[in-house]
Symmetry: D2
Subunit: 357 residues, 4 copies
């Protein structure tokens, strides 16, 4: 068991890459919340494969069908369920015998766990396609959060060794949030796009792939939420974010680089601002102390490994014959999923945040 998340608003994801359909149930949303499906669609388009330019308006074809929980554009309080039909299924007599697990994919571990009964086509339940369901759930959650004043934005912090300007840790403008929330190649500083694209293109030409880091900021969180020890905001956010395939690390605030600072430097000093609000001058704590929100933005960075699908010949084993062999992953590969992973990280943050409020 595993494809569900949350103690308050529960997200249950189902589906396999080449199955009939995939989908998601979101149980526990309050009733009467307006969900703008065009806005949901924008988020889903940002994740969709294809052109990575600005998200386009709604096309019906690949849009999730809401089966329950919505009436006249508002949540009814019943579980919100949506399915995304697969227009791409292949014949069911497709051989399901895995021979050579692809390095870096879940082929081998799924084979271990499911004894070869899992649907291996397209990666089955482990396919990156499944993240569309997380984006759907997150998009619904984000509209509810936004009405509470909570916004979530992420950008491509790096691709390989090409870096964007980091977020200002103490907060970003609404304009930047809005720009990023619509973008398919989300950057603080658009001038960095070229250098990143060069890194990607170089990998593509080699039949290879590159990874990167996504930085995410959550602003407007109420102060004093999160629980101590094992259920703080960091625990909950990390548990959600590691649900995004390819994420191999997460850090909050100054994170790993904070280990190079002195305590006096890493501590964030408090002050009353002009409106009498308590703030910190810096935000090395990333918005949470003792697992509880301070009112400063929550900031985290997630490491996204280079896509394992590469056209390079790689060593592997033949599970049927028990011999060492090699594999070349067929098909056209996306040499860098980092831009498309940005809305998925935002969505994972959203389903985490709505569960700690």
């Amino acid at each position: 068991m595993g494809s569900f998340f949350g103690d308050k608003i529960r997200i249950s994801v189902f589906g396999e890459s080449h199955g009939t359909a995939m989908g998601v149930i979101i149980d526990g949303l309050p009733a009467g919340e307006e969900i703008d499906m065009n806005e949901v669609y924008v988020q889903m388009q940002r994740r969709a494969p294809g052109g990575d330019k600005t998200a386009t308006p709604r096309k019906e074809a690949d849009f999730p069908e809401v089966l329950s929980g919505m009436l006249n554009g508002k949540t009814t309080g019943a579980p919100l369920a949506a399915v995304i039909h697969n227009t791409n299924t292949r014949s069911s007599d497709y051989g399901n015998l895995i021979s050579s697990p692809r390095p870096g994919h879940a082929d081998y571990t799924a084979y271990l766990k499911y004894g070869g009964c899992n649907d291996i086509r397209g990666g089955g339940h482990f396919s990156g396609r499944l993240t569309a369901n997380i984006v759907f759930a997150g998009a619904a959650a984000r509209q509810i959060l936004k009405r509470k004043g909570i916004t979530i934005a992420a950008h491509i912090y790096s691709i390989g060794n090409a870096y964007d300007t980091p977020f200002e840790p103490c907060g970003i403008t609404d304009e930047l949030t809005d720009k990023l929330n619509k973008s398919k190649f989300a950057l603080v500083n658009d001038d960095c796009e070229n250098s990143m694209r060069e890194v990607v293109e170089a990998a593509r030409l080699d039949g290879d792939s590159v990874g990167g880091i996504i930085e995410c900021i959550i602003q407007g969180m109420p102060k004093g939420v999160g629980d101590p020890m094992f259920n703080g905001v960091e625990n909950v956010i990390s548990a959600a974010v590691f649900g995004v395939p390819a994420v191999k690390g997460i850090e909050f605030g100054s994170g790993f680089s904070g280990t190079l600072k002195r305590g006096s430097e890493n501590n964030d000093e408090f002050y009353y601002d002009e409106q009498g609000n308590i703030r910190t001058y810096t935000n090395n704590h990333g918005g949470a102390l003792g697992g509880i929100t301070s009112g400063m933005p929550i900031i985290f960075r997630a490491a996204v490994k280079p896509t394992p699908s590469v056209s390079v010949e790689q060593k592997t084993v033949n599970l049927q014959t028990g011999e060492n062999t090699t594999v070349v992953v067929k098909g056209r590969h996306d040499p860098c999923i980092v831009p498309r992973a940005v809305p998925v990280i935002e969505a994972a943050a959203a389903i985490a945040v709505i569960n700690v409020l």
Copy 2:
């Protein structure tokens, strides 16, 4: 709510730094498991403040008292409960009014959450002392895990900019595991101790503190455990490890540095070893693909921020008067908790692992 962890073996921690006692319940351990209390004591000594030399044999004074769940040295199947009495409580008429929250501590966020009703003495429920309970639970869990062939070891990967030799990602020897499991300053390469101690001493002389990185390896995990998406081994381990105060980041396998690699380089190629076992040549995936164990060691690194308790004057606010002010944290401070955090990280890993089996 928050100070509990686990769906299978549930850990519930209670206590406040200067309260009567603190303790832990471990519900769900199998019956008939022998728990060697001397071995538990060794782990607790590794975490205890004081000398950081090799852990000493059991002293009764500060040892947890087992209240239930053990009979004749074996678990009974009933919840295993232990309390650690506090010999250090102060008078209950101690003023509980917080005036100036210490930067980097949970003073301010606890004040926000609990409206000033929390026990602020010594940090209350947020005190690092509470990690003794995690170590107790982890020590019990580790003995059970060890009988299943699963061992857990961690070392000080870095303190500030002083580094130990990293773990060999594809596995370490039992000798190294044993050495680390007993050490109060756990290093792969003991020659690195001096440079680390210099970093700590320099901070101490400045009344300041330093942080570091702890690397942890889990060997002998059965293959094919962990669940997809939100309940994989990375999700569960990270949710446990962020329960250790001061942890601000976690990465598995090549983690953040993997984002600088090409896919072909970061992918771990499979092969049959001489015994016919499937292994990978490298271990950039850190033991889990798609959240499921591959049979390679689980490797992660956790970033531990510099202790916020420093003798340096810092800016803060006075919550009573509403004015900006400064604070100097009184008392003798531990300038670096990283060595003592090593057994806590191992324990957090243990309570995570016993929950995914």
Copy 3:
């Protein structure tokens, strides 16, 4: 949040009576389990409205569509998801304003909870139709349980004051189990059918309804399963069974009538049978002592209230005008849902049992 059940095998139900579709996700089923869809269909037919004679073979029309988790007739390990499309939806501009809540229905409490945003058509998420999803999940679970030697059977213990022969508490034959598992009017003693039908017919002629009691037996449970105190088999089964609308009571073993016995009489004495198995002469404990299975059959009875839909004029309030008024529930009503509730109770028992193993 609420329409999910289980800590090990998680059942998530969605849908509204007149929505696009309803369905269920079953997360955590082992991979490689064969699920015979014809057998699933038999169970769903037993619950379906219409004739209450023996269940008929599969018709495609109203059958659930499996969207994920199955390949070539076997579970894949991914969440098993099925939807039942609604051929009966009405226009979405249907007025959603509730005026007069029907006595005994959830109309009023749903209005309270969801502030009038819930889909009231046909009872929305509270419709008895939703139990089809429970039956689907239970039917899948029962096939897996059966391969472990665990069978579940229920019968109509009573309708109004007409009673069937109770189960032999120490166990029933496989023949009886098989007969009941196929029947749409499940009785131990078929001679009791006439008197029950007379009770139902009398109510029908009055435009009224009747309730009854369903008795359920679970045989072949492994010994020693269930957890103490709050997670014993009775806790888990009751939590599942109260998920079936109209259930207002449950008792295990001698239950309420056991309160009229002396302890010496209600205690079940142990003995070794001829095969050397420990059994009890009687089964007043209903298969569980201290929440843990004894190896004797689990027996429980569930009280099903008379269907609230009646053609009789009843007093109610007008929520729009704030005045007292009356209501007559329109449409043709099923005067007794007890026979159709039998497979739902079996299914609820199945999803409980698969969660305590």
Copy 4:
């Protein structure tokens, strides 16, 4: 795992009858709630063995010691933990080999589950003594609930075939609630005491025991709480109440007797009362429709089986020799625990209710 309850306010119970101590953690209580320990003591005295007259004021000896979560009489927000020390432990070299399981006790099933490693002395973790922890947790919860206007009262509905006057289903007076909340033999009509005592005395003289039914009413619940299907108030209350040893049945509202009514009779008609509140004329639904509160009192009855400890010779098996034998349970037995179970049922209701708010 099992001795915990709740998703919002989590109750974790530990202890064994003859162990060092038993206790409970209540995690998630809001901070700043005053807990009057004298009032807690009154509830614990009602459950304590000994005289069953009106509860007496606090004696320190057997009172639970609060270890964390309280400061100056108020909750701090940290887990509230209390232990009850055992003054009655016996030597640890006590033979732990079970020979002849007592009929009706959990001896045999605990032996099955724990393989003979459980602490059998006094019933171990299954002892009725453990309910003291439930009463402690419930007493704390009830004080918080009372400040929200929610009161809980129970009475001895029956002992054997001797009955008290049932609760008025649409509500009882505050005076009756107060009387019952202090009583050790809680009755609506005190004239029924003699006939009940006669039933108990007759059993006692025979070395036997009797059971009974406890009726419980929860008033002042906010309208519209509870979740549909598997997490309604009935599901949650029943899961808590079956945590009380000896409970073998539960029914809400008209419960089992409602199956003998017509729908038109069992339905509760709505009306506006003089204050403009919507109420029902009757309360056959017991306060919840579709799992959600209607604003009418929640009413349930729990069947408590006759205590299995009887002085009568009973057949059992010898687990060591594999032979049939007999057993006589030694010691002085309480021939009827129903009066002492009343505050336990109230407490179980309290920990359920505080989890659905």
